[in-house]
């Protein structure tokens, strides 16, 4: 798998650009990923989403269901797609450094 430089450090990513070394994720990595996902510069709502995803994942080891995401962040799906044109799964989860979603989100 490819290695790329994100946030100044070298990180392994898969073909879809999801990072393969979850421990290396940080704010800067996120911002560089956001560039790829047309979600840069990241505003408050971007971070709200990304942080929520990340916290949820760290707590439960899974990505939250969309319904939960919408309810908890107060951002509706339309807005989420505006913030992350790739959508919650391809866009926001990638930026949040989560494993590539297979089901929910």
């Amino acid at each position: 798998m490819a290695k790329v430089t994100l946030g100044g450090i070298e990180v392994e990513i898969d073909e879809d650009g999801f990072i393969q070394e979850p421990d290396k994720w940080n704010k800067e990595v996120a911002e560089d990923l956001a560039k790829v996902e047309q979600a840069y510069p990241m505003g408050e709502d971007h971070w709200k989403l990304v942080n929520y995803l990340r916290d949820y994942y760290l707590k439960y080891e899974i990505a939250p269901p969309i319904r939960m995401l919408v309810k908890q962040t107060g951002l509706d799906l339309k807005t989420i797609y505006q913030l992350f044109p790739g959508g919650p799964a391809k866009g926001a989860c990638k930026v949040a450094g989560l494993p590539k979603p297979t089901g929910c989100v």
Binding site: E15, F18, I66, K78, Y81, G86, G87, C104
Partner: protein
Amino acid sequence: MADETPLLDELEKGPWPSYVKEIKRAAKKNKASKDLLGIQELSYKDRITHWKHGGIVGVTGYGSGVIGRYCDSPEKFPDAAAFHTFRVNHPAGWFYSTKALRKICDIWEKYGSGMTNFHGSTGDIILLGAPTENLQPCFDTLTENGFDLGGSGSALRTISGCVGKARCEWANIDTLDIVRDFTSEFQDEIHRPRWPYKFKIKASGCPNDCVAAIARADFTIIGTWKDTLRIDQAAVKNYAENGFDVKGLVVDKCPTDALEWDEKTKTLTLRAEDCVRCMHCINKMTKAIRPGVDTGATILIGSKAPIIKGAYLSWVLIPFIKIEPPYNEIKELLRKIWDWWDENGRTRERLAELIERKGFKTFLREMGIPPVPQMIYKPRANPYVFF
């Protein structure tokens, strides 16, 4: 890249049209198709797939419609290393003008492998194999030309219906218009996954169910009628006189014994209250028997493939309902179902599985639908009743 495909070559022989010939045809003009041929030959040799798991790619603003796919040997097959597919939504009934079809071919010649499925088994046009960088331009060109993507992921999937009133005398509902109307209404649900899992809607014009709606749609709409089927006795007589065995092939095969045959007068009598509208007599005596005129649909829910709890067939939710534009009642019901499912469903739990887990009774209560015996084959045998 493979020049020698001894295994696949075997599949050019024989009378049935050969997909291998088709790939070779595309491969002549297109490198990705050439690599596809090589990958397929390798799979035949190794007896294993050479596609990697998953892939999450897409087009701007959509969460669905593209299936990401990467080859596990990109070094050998660089031109098919990324080989994503588009699910392009079809016009209801799979009718096309050649103009529209040619347009798709041209677009796909430009951006993709030149290989397609007409159609995928949900009903989409499958444009098979484009590299990541072509996804967005290809999509933009598709929409410019009036086409849009279908569903994938935990979204509403491409809706389909039988040929219906366009070419069938038995359509009790306008399946094509239902597909068109619902597809427009639910564009957001199709393109932006949001639920615990996929959701499918299919509509057949009569109980023959030519799109297998009862076997593979969470929400199944099947046309039927409430009054009595129509028998043209003169035409019946005609059948009998032409040697058709009305008694043996129709009357005796009626599942409820609702028909009676008078061999002397060559008349066919129906005990209307016993007819369960199975279509058999109509199917076999097309010129003599027709559905009734008080038409509408039976709504059934829940069918799906085996993952996880085993396969389901759809079962009756609403025995009879009028189906007329703007279809508000059905749309409201759908939204209510989605809401309940979304609120209660676990990840990857299809509607039927959720209903089974929570109890059909609970579902009926939530939907405000009164229980009727038509919903079941038979009442419970166990005494484990909640009061």
